[in-house]
Protein backbone atom coordinates (compact mmCIF):
# COMPACT_ATOMS: atom_id res chain seq x y z
CA UNK A 1 0.00 0.00 0.00
CA UNK A 2 2.95 2.32 0.40
CA UNK A 3 4.54 1.36 -2.84
CA UNK A 4 2.27 3.75 -4.67
CA UNK A 5 3.87 6.79 -3.09
CA UNK A 6 7.28 5.52 -2.15
CA UNK A 7 8.91 7.65 -4.81
CA UNK A 8 7.51 10.73 -3.17
CA UNK A 9 10.23 12.77 -1.55
CA UNK A 10 10.62 12.02 2.11
CA UNK A 11 7.68 9.74 2.73
CA UNK A 12 9.03 7.24 5.24
CA UNK A 13 7.84 3.71 4.66
CA UNK A 14 8.74 2.32 8.03
CA UNK A 15 6.57 1.92 11.02
CA UNK A 16 9.21 1.80 13.71
CA UNK A 17 10.55 4.83 15.37
CA UNK A 18 14.10 4.49 14.20
CA UNK A 19 13.22 3.78 10.63
CA UNK A 20 11.37 7.04 10.38
CA UNK A 21 14.41 8.73 11.78
CA UNK A 22 16.66 6.98 9.35
CA UNK A 23 15.20 9.10 6.59
CA UNK A 24 15.71 12.40 8.25
CA UNK A 25 18.98 12.45 9.98
CA UNK A 26 21.83 14.82 9.61
CA UNK A 27 25.56 14.84 9.92
CA UNK A 28 26.87 14.00 13.32
CA UNK A 29 30.13 15.04 14.83
CA UNK A 30 32.64 12.23 15.17
CA UNK A 31 32.78 12.56 18.95
CA UNK A 32 29.13 11.56 19.31
CA UNK A 33 29.72 8.33 17.39
CA UNK A 34 32.75 7.61 19.52
CA UNK A 35 30.82 8.23 22.74
CA UNK A 36 28.00 5.99 21.54
CA UNK A 37 30.53 3.27 20.73
CA UNK A 38 32.07 3.54 24.20
CA UNK A 39 28.70 3.36 25.95
CA UNK A 40 27.62 0.36 23.92
CA UNK A 41 30.94 -1.42 24.48
CA UNK A 42 30.52 -0.86 28.21
CA UNK A 43 27.01 -2.30 28.18
CA UNK A 44 28.17 -5.30 26.13
CA UNK A 45 31.01 -5.90 28.60
CA UNK A 46 28.57 -5.72 31.50
CA UNK A 47 26.44 -8.36 29.78
CA UNK A 48 29.41 -10.61 29.00
CA UNK A 49 30.97 -10.38 32.46
CA UNK A 50 27.70 -10.31 34.42
CA UNK A 51 28.62 -13.27 36.69
CA UNK A 52 31.82 -11.51 37.79
CA UNK A 53 30.32 -8.04 38.08
CA UNK A 54 27.26 -9.03 40.07
CA UNK A 55 27.85 -9.34 43.80
CA UNK A 56 24.58 -11.12 44.63
CA UNK A 57 22.45 -13.82 43.09
CA UNK A 58 19.97 -11.80 40.95
CA UNK A 59 17.23 -14.31 41.75
CA UNK A 60 17.83 -14.81 45.48
CA UNK A 61 14.74 -13.70 47.40
CA UNK A 62 15.35 -12.28 50.83
CA UNK A 63 12.19 -10.89 52.46
CA UNK A 64 14.21 -9.50 55.36
CA UNK A 65 16.10 -7.18 53.00
CA UNK A 66 13.09 -5.72 51.16
CA UNK A 67 13.48 -2.22 49.68
CA UNK A 68 16.86 -1.53 51.28
CA UNK A 69 18.42 1.83 50.32
CA UNK A 70 21.73 2.15 48.50
CA UNK A 71 24.66 1.01 50.58
CA UNK A 72 27.85 -1.02 50.69
CA UNK A 73 26.03 -4.35 50.95
CA UNK A 74 23.45 -3.64 48.22
CA UNK A 75 25.00 -1.05 45.90
CA UNK A 76 21.73 0.19 44.42
CA UNK A 77 19.51 -1.13 47.18
CA UNK A 78 17.04 -4.00 46.92
CA UNK A 79 13.72 -4.53 45.19
CA UNK A 80 10.33 -5.34 46.80
CA UNK A 81 11.36 -9.01 47.07
CA UNK A 82 14.70 -8.28 48.67
CA UNK A 83 16.72 -9.03 45.55
CA UNK A 84 19.82 -6.99 44.84
CA UNK A 85 18.91 -4.30 42.29
CA UNK A 86 22.48 -3.83 41.03
CA UNK A 87 22.96 -7.53 40.26
CA UNK A 88 19.57 -7.72 38.56
CA UNK A 89 20.36 -4.74 36.35
CA UNK A 90 23.73 -6.24 35.42
CA UNK A 91 22.05 -9.48 34.35
CA UNK A 92 19.30 -7.49 32.64
CA UNK A 93 21.86 -6.28 30.11
CA UNK A 94 22.15 -9.89 28.92
CA UNK A 95 18.43 -10.21 28.21
CA UNK A 96 18.22 -6.89 26.39
CA UNK A 97 21.25 -7.46 24.18
CA UNK A 98 20.26 -11.06 23.41
CA UNK A 99 16.82 -9.92 22.31
CA UNK A 100 18.18 -6.99 20.30
CA UNK A 101 20.85 -8.97 18.50
CA UNK A 102 18.70 -12.08 18.09
CA UNK A 103 15.78 -10.22 16.60
CA UNK A 104 17.99 -8.15 14.29
CA UNK A 105 19.81 -11.20 12.94
CA UNK A 106 16.78 -13.45 12.53
CA UNK A 107 14.52 -10.84 10.97
CA UNK A 108 17.22 -10.01 8.43
CA UNK A 109 17.86 -13.73 7.83
CA UNK A 110 14.16 -14.32 7.11
CA UNK A 111 13.41 -11.03 5.37
CA UNK A 112 16.40 -11.11 3.02
CA UNK A 113 15.46 -14.25 1.02
CA UNK A 114 11.79 -13.24 0.98
CA UNK A 115 12.67 -9.79 -0.32
CA UNK A 116 15.03 -11.20 -2.96
CA UNK A 117 12.32 -13.54 -4.24
CA UNK A 118 9.62 -10.86 -4.13
CA UNK A 119 11.82 -8.45 -6.04
CA UNK A 120 12.61 -10.99 -8.72
CA UNK A 121 9.41 -12.99 -9.28
CA UNK A 122 6.45 -10.81 -10.22
CA UNK A 123 3.65 -13.23 -9.28
CA UNK A 124 5.16 -14.08 -5.92
CA UNK A 125 5.69 -10.37 -5.34
CA UNK A 126 1.98 -9.59 -5.64
CA UNK A 127 0.98 -12.21 -3.09
CA UNK A 128 3.85 -11.71 -0.69
CA UNK A 129 3.58 -7.95 -0.55
CA UNK A 130 -0.16 -8.09 0.17
CA UNK A 131 0.63 -10.35 3.13
CA UNK A 132 3.36 -7.95 4.25
CA UNK A 133 0.98 -4.97 3.89
CA UNK A 134 -1.51 -6.80 6.10
CA UNK A 135 1.14 -7.54 8.72
CA UNK A 136 2.32 -3.95 8.67
CA UNK A 137 -1.18 -2.65 9.22
CA UNK A 138 -1.32 -4.29 12.64
CA UNK A 139 0.42 -2.08 15.18
CA UNK A 140 3.60 -3.99 16.09
CA UNK A 141 3.19 -3.68 19.81
CA UNK A 142 -0.36 -5.09 19.74
CA UNK A 143 0.78 -7.99 17.58
CA UNK A 144 3.67 -8.68 19.92
CA UNK A 145 1.53 -8.49 23.07
CA UNK A 146 -1.00 -10.84 21.50
CA UNK A 147 1.62 -13.37 20.37
CA UNK A 148 3.39 -13.45 23.74
CA UNK A 149 0.33 -13.77 25.88
CA UNK A 150 -1.40 -16.29 23.67
CA UNK A 151 1.59 -18.61 23.66
CA UNK A 152 3.96 -18.63 26.60
CA UNK A 153 6.23 -16.07 28.14
CA UNK A 154 9.65 -17.49 27.25
CA UNK A 155 12.63 -15.69 25.77
CA UNK A 156 11.94 -17.41 22.44
CA UNK A 157 8.31 -16.40 22.11
CA UNK A 158 9.18 -12.84 23.07
CA UNK A 159 11.83 -12.75 20.34
CA UNK A 160 9.47 -14.23 17.76
CA UNK A 161 6.74 -11.80 18.78
CA UNK A 162 9.06 -8.85 18.31
CA UNK A 163 10.48 -10.27 15.08
CA UNK A 164 7.21 -10.86 13.23
CA UNK A 165 6.28 -7.17 12.86
CA UNK A 166 9.89 -6.33 11.87
CA UNK A 167 10.09 -8.77 8.95
CA UNK A 168 7.86 -6.79 6.53
CA UNK A 169 10.20 -3.81 6.91
CA UNK A 170 13.18 -5.91 5.86
CA UNK A 171 11.30 -7.53 2.97
CA UNK A 172 10.25 -4.10 1.67
CA UNK A 173 13.76 -2.73 1.88
CA UNK A 174 15.38 -5.69 0.12
CA UNK A 175 12.67 -5.81 -2.51
CA UNK A 176 13.04 -2.15 -3.40
CA UNK A 177 16.82 -2.57 -3.76
CA UNK A 178 16.36 -5.64 -5.97
CA UNK A 179 13.85 -3.80 -8.16
CA UNK A 180 16.38 -1.00 -8.65
CA UNK A 181 19.41 -3.24 -9.18
CA UNK A 182 17.82 -5.63 -11.66
CA UNK A 183 17.60 -2.78 -14.18
CA UNK A 184 21.40 -2.39 -14.14
CA UNK A 185 23.45 -3.42 -17.16
CA UNK A 186 25.56 -5.95 -15.25
CA UNK A 187 22.45 -7.85 -14.19
CA UNK A 188 21.17 -7.89 -17.73
CA UNK A 189 24.57 -9.15 -18.88
CA UNK A 190 24.49 -11.90 -16.28
CA UNK A 191 21.02 -12.98 -17.42
CA UNK A 192 22.15 -13.05 -21.06
CA UNK A 193 25.12 -15.18 -20.12
CA UNK A 194 22.70 -17.75 -18.79
CA UNK A 195 23.44 -17.36 -15.09
CA UNK A 196 21.18 -19.60 -13.04
CA UNK A 197 18.49 -17.83 -11.05
CA UNK A 198 19.75 -18.74 -7.56
CA UNK A 199 23.24 -17.59 -8.51
CA UNK A 200 21.87 -14.41 -10.03
CA UNK A 201 19.92 -13.64 -6.89
CA UNK A 202 22.76 -14.37 -4.52
CA UNK A 203 25.84 -13.19 -6.38
CA UNK A 204 24.48 -10.25 -8.35
CA UNK A 205 21.40 -8.89 -6.61
CA UNK A 206 22.01 -9.67 -2.92
CA UNK A 207 25.22 -7.62 -2.46
CA UNK A 208 23.43 -4.36 -3.28
CA UNK A 209 21.08 -4.93 -0.35
CA UNK A 210 23.81 -5.41 2.23
CA UNK A 211 24.65 -1.80 3.06
CA UNK A 212 21.07 -0.71 3.76
CA UNK A 213 20.46 -3.99 5.61
CA UNK A 214 23.31 -3.31 8.02
CA UNK A 215 21.79 0.08 8.82
CA UNK A 216 18.29 -1.35 9.08
CA UNK A 217 19.60 -4.16 11.29
CA UNK A 218 20.99 -1.65 13.77
CA UNK A 219 17.67 0.14 14.01
CA UNK A 220 15.81 -3.16 14.40
CA UNK A 221 18.18 -4.05 17.23
CA UNK A 222 17.40 -0.80 19.08
CA UNK A 223 13.69 -1.09 18.50
CA UNK A 224 13.65 -4.76 19.62
CA UNK A 225 15.34 -3.84 22.90
CA UNK A 226 12.73 -1.14 23.42
CA UNK A 227 9.84 -3.44 22.56
CA UNK A 228 11.10 -6.16 24.91
CA UNK A 229 11.21 -3.63 27.73
CA UNK A 230 7.70 -2.42 26.91
CA UNK A 231 6.34 -5.97 26.81
CA UNK A 232 7.92 -6.84 30.16
CA UNK A 233 6.72 -3.55 31.57
CA UNK A 234 3.13 -4.32 30.57
CA UNK A 235 3.37 -7.79 32.08
CA UNK A 236 3.33 -9.50 28.69
CA UNK A 237 7.03 -10.21 28.41
CA UNK A 238 9.59 -12.75 29.55
CA UNK A 239 8.61 -14.54 32.77
CA UNK A 240 8.71 -12.11 35.67
CA UNK A 241 11.48 -13.89 37.58
CA UNK A 242 13.93 -13.20 34.73
CA UNK A 243 15.96 -10.09 35.50
CA UNK A 244 15.24 -8.02 32.38
CA UNK A 245 15.24 -4.22 32.51
CA UNK A 246 11.57 -4.15 31.62
CA UNK A 247 10.70 -6.61 34.39
CA UNK A 248 12.74 -4.67 36.93
CA UNK A 249 10.80 -1.51 36.09
CA UNK A 250 7.50 -3.34 35.98
CA UNK A 251 8.06 -4.66 39.53
CA UNK A 252 9.21 -1.26 40.69
CA UNK A 253 6.01 0.43 39.52
CA UNK A 254 3.98 -0.23 42.65
CA UNK A 255 6.73 1.14 44.90
CA UNK A 256 7.65 3.97 42.59
CA UNK A 257 6.51 6.77 44.90
CA UNK A 258 8.37 5.22 47.78
CA UNK A 259 11.54 4.39 45.89
CA UNK A 260 11.96 5.90 42.41
CA UNK A 261 15.39 4.29 41.94
CA UNK A 262 13.61 0.97 41.31
CA UNK A 263 12.69 2.37 37.92
CA UNK A 264 15.33 4.96 37.18
CA UNK A 265 18.54 2.91 37.03
CA UNK A 266 17.12 0.37 34.64
CA UNK A 267 15.43 3.14 32.66
CA UNK A 268 18.67 5.06 32.41
CA UNK A 269 20.63 2.05 31.11
CA UNK A 270 17.84 1.13 28.73
CA UNK A 271 17.75 4.66 27.31
CA UNK A 272 21.55 4.86 27.03
CA UNK A 273 21.64 1.50 25.26
CA UNK A 274 18.95 2.39 22.73
CA UNK A 275 20.36 5.87 22.17
CA UNK A 276 23.86 4.61 21.47
CA UNK A 277 22.66 1.90 19.07
CA UNK A 278 20.53 4.44 17.20
CA UNK A 279 23.45 6.86 16.98
CA UNK A 280 25.75 4.12 15.67
CA UNK A 281 23.09 3.22 13.13
CA UNK A 282 22.98 6.84 11.99
CA UNK A 283 26.76 6.90 11.59
CA UNK A 284 26.68 3.63 9.68
CA UNK A 285 24.09 5.09 7.36
CA UNK A 286 26.12 8.24 6.79
CA UNK A 287 29.17 6.12 6.00
CA UNK A 288 27.39 3.64 3.74
CA UNK A 289 25.03 6.00 1.99
CA UNK A 290 26.72 9.36 1.37
CA UNK A 291 23.93 10.42 -0.96
CA UNK A 292 21.38 10.30 1.83
CA UNK A 293 23.70 12.29 4.07
CA UNK A 294 24.11 15.06 1.52
CA UNK A 295 20.42 15.29 0.93
CA UNK A 296 19.54 15.49 4.58
CA UNK A 297 22.19 17.69 6.07
Amino acid sequence: MHASHSHLTLAPEGRGVSRLLSRLSQTRPRGVTLAAGVVLTLIISVALFAPWLANHDPLALSPADRLKPMGSEFWLGTDPYGRDLYSRIVYGARVSLTVGLGVAVTSVAIGLPLGLLAGYFRTLDAVLMRIMDGLMAIPGILLAIAIVSLTSASLWTVMIAIMVPEIPQVVRLVRSRVLATREEAFVEAAILMGTSTPRLLWRHLMPSTLAPLIVQGTYICASAILTEAILSFLGAGIGTETPSWGNIMSEGRVYFQLKPSLIFWAGLLLSACILSINLLGDSARDALDPKMKRRMS
Partner: protein, 313 residues
Amino acid sequence: MFAYFIRRILASIPVMLVVALFVFLLLRLSPGDPAAIIAGDMASPTQLANIRAALGLDQPLHIQFFVWLGELVRGNFGTSLISQTPVLTMIGQRLEPTGSLAVVAMLFTVIIAIPLGVIAAWCHGRFLDKLVMSASVVGFSVPVFVIGYLLIQLFALELGWLPVQGFRSLSEGIAPFASRIVLPALTLSSIYIALIARMTRASMLEVLDEDYIRTARAKGLPERAVLFRHALRNAAVPILTVIGTGFALMISGVVVTESVFNIPGLGRLIVDAVLARDYPVIQALILLTAGLYVIINLLIDLSYAITDPRIRY
Protein backbone atom coordinates in the same frame (compact mmCIF):
# COMPACT_ATOMS: atom_id res chain seq x y z
CA MET B 1 -7.82 10.89 -10.75
CA PHE B 2 -11.20 9.32 -10.03
CA ALA B 3 -10.02 5.97 -11.38
CA TYR B 4 -6.97 6.22 -9.16
CA PHE B 5 -9.17 6.88 -6.12
CA ILE B 6 -11.28 3.81 -6.84
CA ARG B 7 -8.21 1.65 -7.45
CA ARG B 8 -6.55 2.86 -4.29
CA ILE B 9 -9.67 2.22 -2.20
CA LEU B 10 -10.13 -1.26 -3.65
CA ALA B 11 -6.48 -2.04 -2.94
CA SER B 12 -7.07 -1.70 0.80
CA ILE B 13 -9.62 -4.52 0.82
CA PRO B 14 -7.10 -7.38 0.40
CA VAL B 15 -4.93 -5.76 3.07
CA MET B 16 -7.80 -5.84 5.55
CA LEU B 17 -8.58 -9.44 4.57
CA VAL B 18 -5.00 -10.44 5.30
CA VAL B 19 -5.22 -8.68 8.65
CA ALA B 20 -8.48 -10.47 9.44
CA LEU B 21 -7.06 -13.85 8.44
CA PHE B 22 -3.93 -13.28 10.47
CA VAL B 23 -5.83 -12.23 13.59
CA PHE B 24 -8.19 -15.17 13.20
CA LEU B 25 -5.38 -17.71 12.84
CA LEU B 26 -3.33 -16.19 15.62
CA LEU B 27 -6.17 -16.51 18.11
CA ARG B 28 -7.56 -19.86 16.96
CA LEU B 29 -4.25 -21.66 16.64
CA SER B 30 -2.78 -20.44 19.90
CA PRO B 31 -2.88 -22.83 22.83
CA GLY B 32 -5.53 -22.15 25.46
CA ASP B 33 -9.13 -23.16 24.82
CA PRO B 34 -11.64 -20.31 25.12
CA ALA B 35 -14.36 -22.81 25.99
CA ALA B 36 -12.27 -24.07 28.90
CA ILE B 37 -11.77 -20.49 30.10
CA ILE B 38 -15.51 -19.80 30.10
CA ALA B 39 -16.44 -23.10 31.68
CA GLY B 40 -13.89 -22.87 34.46
CA ASP B 41 -11.93 -25.67 36.07
CA MET B 42 -14.89 -27.74 37.28
CA ALA B 43 -16.57 -28.24 33.89
CA SER B 44 -17.40 -31.75 32.64
CA PRO B 45 -16.50 -32.80 29.08
CA THR B 46 -20.16 -32.51 27.99
CA GLN B 47 -20.40 -28.97 29.31
CA LEU B 48 -17.23 -28.12 27.41
CA ALA B 49 -18.62 -29.64 24.23
CA ASN B 50 -21.84 -27.66 24.65
CA ILE B 51 -19.99 -24.39 25.09
CA ARG B 52 -17.83 -25.22 22.10
CA ALA B 53 -20.88 -25.89 19.96
CA ALA B 54 -22.50 -22.66 21.15
CA LEU B 55 -19.41 -20.69 20.17
CA GLY B 56 -19.12 -22.53 16.84
CA LEU B 57 -15.71 -23.85 17.84
CA ASP B 58 -16.61 -27.38 16.71
CA GLN B 59 -16.80 -26.32 13.04
CA PRO B 60 -13.85 -26.70 10.66
CA LEU B 61 -11.45 -23.76 10.68
CA HIS B 62 -12.31 -22.29 7.28
CA ILE B 63 -16.05 -22.38 8.06
CA GLN B 64 -15.35 -20.65 11.36
CA PHE B 65 -13.37 -17.99 9.51
CA PHE B 66 -16.13 -17.17 7.03
CA VAL B 67 -18.85 -17.20 9.69
CA TRP B 68 -16.72 -14.87 11.78
CA LEU B 69 -15.95 -12.62 8.80
CA GLY B 70 -19.65 -12.41 7.97
CA GLU B 71 -20.40 -11.27 11.51
CA LEU B 72 -17.62 -8.66 11.35
CA VAL B 73 -18.96 -7.22 8.11
CA ARG B 74 -22.33 -6.81 9.78
CA GLY B 75 -20.64 -4.95 12.62
CA ASN B 76 -20.92 -7.77 15.13
CA PHE B 77 -17.63 -8.01 16.97
CA GLY B 78 -18.91 -10.49 19.54
CA THR B 79 -19.19 -10.31 23.30
CA SER B 80 -16.45 -10.36 25.88
CA LEU B 81 -15.82 -13.82 27.32
CA ILE B 82 -15.20 -12.34 30.75
CA SER B 83 -17.78 -9.60 31.27
CA GLN B 84 -20.35 -10.84 28.72
CA THR B 85 -20.71 -7.27 27.42
CA PRO B 86 -20.73 -6.64 23.66
CA VAL B 87 -17.19 -5.74 22.62
CA LEU B 88 -18.24 -2.59 20.82
CA THR B 89 -19.95 -1.34 23.98
CA MET B 90 -16.76 -1.93 25.96
CA ILE B 91 -14.73 -0.09 23.35
CA GLY B 92 -17.26 2.74 23.36
CA GLN B 93 -16.89 3.16 27.13
CA ARG B 94 -13.13 3.44 26.80
CA LEU B 95 -13.07 5.84 23.88
CA GLU B 96 -13.28 9.04 25.87
CA PRO B 97 -10.08 8.74 27.95
CA THR B 98 -8.02 7.55 24.98
CA GLY B 99 -9.56 10.10 22.66
CA SER B 100 -8.88 12.99 25.06
CA LEU B 101 -5.34 11.76 25.59
CA ALA B 102 -4.67 11.48 21.87
CA VAL B 103 -6.19 14.86 21.03
CA VAL B 104 -4.31 16.74 23.76
CA ALA B 105 -1.08 14.94 22.83
CA MET B 106 -1.56 15.90 19.19
CA LEU B 107 -2.21 19.48 20.22
CA PHE B 108 1.04 19.56 22.23
CA THR B 109 2.88 18.04 19.32
CA VAL B 110 1.72 20.61 16.82
CA ILE B 111 2.24 23.54 19.20
CA ILE B 112 5.72 22.43 20.26
CA ALA B 113 7.20 20.44 17.39
CA ILE B 114 6.42 22.54 14.34
CA PRO B 115 7.83 25.82 15.71
CA LEU B 116 10.90 23.92 16.97
CA GLY B 117 11.47 22.41 13.55
CA VAL B 118 10.99 25.75 11.81
CA ILE B 119 13.41 27.48 14.18
CA ALA B 120 15.98 24.68 13.79
CA ALA B 121 15.81 24.96 10.02
CA TRP B 122 16.08 28.74 10.23
CA CYS B 123 19.20 28.48 12.40
CA HIS B 124 20.57 25.66 10.26
CA GLY B 125 23.97 24.50 11.51
CA ARG B 126 24.06 26.89 14.42
CA PHE B 127 23.75 26.23 18.15
CA LEU B 128 19.97 26.32 18.41
CA ASP B 129 19.65 23.86 15.53
CA LYS B 130 22.09 21.45 17.14
CA LEU B 131 20.31 21.77 20.48
CA VAL B 132 16.91 20.95 19.00
CA MET B 133 18.30 18.04 17.00
CA SER B 134 20.18 16.54 19.95
CA ALA B 135 17.11 16.87 22.14
CA SER B 136 15.10 15.10 19.50
CA VAL B 137 17.52 12.14 19.29
CA VAL B 138 17.33 11.80 23.05
CA GLY B 139 13.55 12.20 23.09
CA PHE B 140 13.47 9.44 20.57
CA SER B 141 15.56 6.92 22.42
CA VAL B 142 14.21 7.35 25.94
CA PRO B 143 11.32 4.88 26.32
CA VAL B 144 7.86 6.34 26.81
CA PHE B 145 7.43 4.93 30.30
CA VAL B 146 10.75 6.31 31.48
CA ILE B 147 9.68 9.76 30.33
CA GLY B 148 6.35 9.22 32.07
CA TYR B 149 7.96 8.38 35.40
CA LEU B 150 10.44 11.25 35.11
CA LEU B 151 7.55 13.67 34.60
CA ILE B 152 5.63 12.17 37.54
CA GLN B 153 8.71 12.38 39.74
CA LEU B 154 9.36 16.00 38.82
CA PHE B 155 5.91 17.59 38.55
CA ALA B 156 3.81 15.39 40.83
CA LEU B 157 6.16 14.20 43.57
CA GLU B 158 8.91 16.82 43.88
CA LEU B 159 6.99 19.95 42.95
CA GLY B 160 3.51 18.68 43.80
CA TRP B 161 1.90 20.73 41.04
CA LEU B 162 -0.13 17.95 39.46
CA PRO B 163 -1.79 14.70 40.55
CA VAL B 164 0.26 11.53 40.08
CA GLN B 165 -2.21 9.39 38.20
CA GLY B 166 -5.80 8.95 37.13
CA PHE B 167 -8.28 10.38 34.71
CA ARG B 168 -11.26 12.71 35.02
CA SER B 169 -13.77 13.26 32.29
CA LEU B 170 -14.02 16.71 30.78
CA SER B 171 -17.65 16.75 31.93
CA GLU B 172 -16.42 16.86 35.55
CA GLY B 173 -14.89 20.26 34.95
CA ILE B 174 -11.90 21.66 33.14
CA ALA B 175 -9.49 21.91 36.06
CA PRO B 176 -9.60 18.26 37.20
CA PHE B 177 -9.49 17.13 33.57
CA ALA B 178 -6.59 19.36 32.59
CA SER B 179 -4.50 18.69 35.68
CA ARG B 180 -4.63 14.95 35.04
CA ILE B 181 -4.24 14.98 31.28
CA VAL B 182 -1.17 17.24 31.01
CA LEU B 183 1.47 14.74 32.12
CA PRO B 184 0.21 11.72 30.18
CA ALA B 185 -0.29 13.84 27.07
CA LEU B 186 3.24 15.21 27.35
CA THR B 187 4.53 11.68 27.82
CA LEU B 188 2.67 10.38 24.81
CA SER B 189 3.66 13.29 22.61
CA SER B 190 7.38 13.14 23.45
CA ILE B 191 8.25 10.75 20.62
CA TYR B 192 5.95 12.57 18.26
CA ILE B 193 7.49 15.92 19.11
CA ALA B 194 10.97 14.52 18.45
CA LEU B 195 9.86 12.98 15.18
CA ILE B 196 7.85 15.88 13.82
CA ALA B 197 10.38 18.52 14.83
CA ARG B 198 12.94 16.57 12.77
CA MET B 199 10.62 16.08 9.88
CA THR B 200 9.62 19.75 9.87
CA ARG B 201 13.26 20.79 9.91
CA ALA B 202 14.30 18.44 7.09
CA SER B 203 11.32 19.43 5.02
CA MET B 204 11.83 23.17 5.67
CA LEU B 205 15.50 22.93 4.70
CA GLU B 206 14.53 21.58 1.31
CA VAL B 207 12.06 24.38 0.77
CA LEU B 208 14.16 27.26 2.10
CA ASP B 209 16.56 26.98 -0.86
CA GLU B 210 13.78 27.56 -3.35
CA ASP B 211 13.61 30.66 -5.51
CA TYR B 212 10.23 31.78 -4.25
CA ILE B 213 11.60 32.08 -0.73
CA ARG B 214 14.31 34.43 -2.01
CA THR B 215 11.64 36.35 -3.87
CA ALA B 216 9.51 36.61 -0.75
CA ARG B 217 12.47 37.90 1.24
CA ALA B 218 13.50 40.25 -1.55
CA LYS B 219 10.13 41.89 -1.68
CA GLY B 220 10.56 42.71 1.99
CA LEU B 221 8.18 40.34 3.70
CA PRO B 222 8.85 39.96 7.42
CA GLU B 223 10.87 36.81 8.15
CA ARG B 224 8.02 35.29 10.14
CA ALA B 225 5.71 35.51 7.16
CA VAL B 226 8.36 34.00 4.91
CA LEU B 227 8.90 31.08 7.26
CA PHE B 228 5.35 30.28 8.24
CA ARG B 229 3.30 31.43 5.29
CA HIS B 230 5.57 30.59 2.37
CA ALA B 231 7.98 27.91 3.52
CA LEU B 232 5.98 25.88 6.03
CA ARG B 233 2.99 25.59 3.76
CA ASN B 234 5.10 24.05 1.02
CA ALA B 235 6.90 21.84 3.49
CA ALA B 236 3.64 20.45 4.85
CA VAL B 237 3.18 17.29 2.77
CA PRO B 238 5.98 15.18 4.28
CA ILE B 239 4.98 16.37 7.75
CA LEU B 240 1.49 15.09 7.08
CA THR B 241 2.90 11.72 6.08
CA VAL B 242 4.79 11.35 9.32
CA ILE B 243 1.65 12.11 11.29
CA GLY B 244 0.00 9.24 9.42
CA THR B 245 2.77 6.68 9.58
CA GLY B 246 3.35 7.66 13.16
CA PHE B 247 -0.10 6.40 14.00
CA ALA B 248 1.27 2.97 14.92
CA LEU B 249 3.72 4.74 17.19
CA MET B 250 0.80 6.44 18.87
CA ILE B 251 -0.88 3.08 19.55
CA SER B 252 2.13 1.66 21.35
CA GLY B 253 2.51 4.97 23.18
CA VAL B 254 -1.12 4.92 24.29
CA VAL B 255 -0.85 1.37 25.65
CA VAL B 256 2.19 2.26 27.75
CA THR B 257 1.08 5.74 28.81
CA GLU B 258 -2.28 4.50 30.02
CA SER B 259 -0.53 1.86 32.10
CA VAL B 260 1.87 4.36 33.66
CA PHE B 261 -0.84 6.91 34.48
CA ASN B 262 -3.64 4.48 35.31
CA ILE B 263 -5.98 5.80 32.65
CA PRO B 264 -8.96 3.53 31.92
CA GLY B 265 -8.76 3.77 28.13
CA LEU B 266 -8.38 1.49 25.13
CA GLY B 267 -4.73 0.77 25.87
CA ARG B 268 -5.62 -0.61 29.28
CA LEU B 269 -8.48 -2.52 27.73
CA ILE B 270 -6.17 -4.41 25.40
CA VAL B 271 -3.60 -5.18 28.08
CA ASP B 272 -6.32 -6.46 30.40
CA ALA B 273 -7.93 -8.45 27.59
CA VAL B 274 -4.65 -10.04 26.61
CA LEU B 275 -3.79 -10.99 30.18
CA ALA B 276 -7.27 -12.53 30.60
CA ARG B 277 -7.20 -14.10 27.11
CA ASP B 278 -10.44 -12.42 26.23
CA TYR B 279 -10.36 -13.37 22.53
CA PRO B 280 -13.23 -11.28 21.11
CA VAL B 281 -11.88 -8.11 22.72
CA ILE B 282 -8.33 -8.72 21.44
CA GLN B 283 -9.64 -9.49 17.96
CA ALA B 284 -11.82 -6.43 17.79
CA LEU B 285 -9.12 -4.06 19.04
CA ILE B 286 -6.45 -5.34 16.68
CA LEU B 287 -8.86 -5.25 13.74
CA LEU B 288 -10.09 -1.77 14.54
CA THR B 289 -6.62 -0.28 14.98
CA ALA B 290 -5.40 -1.99 11.80
CA GLY B 291 -8.47 -0.68 9.98
CA LEU B 292 -7.80 2.81 11.27
CA TYR B 293 -4.18 2.54 10.13
CA VAL B 294 -5.26 1.47 6.64
CA ILE B 295 -7.83 4.27 6.42
CA ILE B 296 -5.38 6.94 7.61
CA ASN B 297 -2.80 5.87 5.06
CA LEU B 298 -5.45 5.74 2.37
CA LEU B 299 -6.50 9.31 3.18
CA ILE B 300 -2.90 10.47 3.11
CA ASP B 301 -2.32 8.86 -0.28
CA LEU B 302 -5.46 10.45 -1.62
CA SER B 303 -4.56 13.83 -0.15
CA TYR B 304 -1.28 13.70 -2.09
CA ALA B 305 -3.19 13.32 -5.30
CA ILE B 306 -5.33 16.30 -4.42
CA THR B 307 -2.74 18.67 -2.96
CA ASP B 308 0.21 17.98 -5.22
CA PRO B 309 -0.62 18.55 -8.88
CA ARG B 310 2.77 17.12 -9.87
CA ILE B 311 1.62 13.64 -8.87
CA ARG B 312 -0.17 11.83 -11.68
CA TYR B 313 -1.26 8.25 -11.48
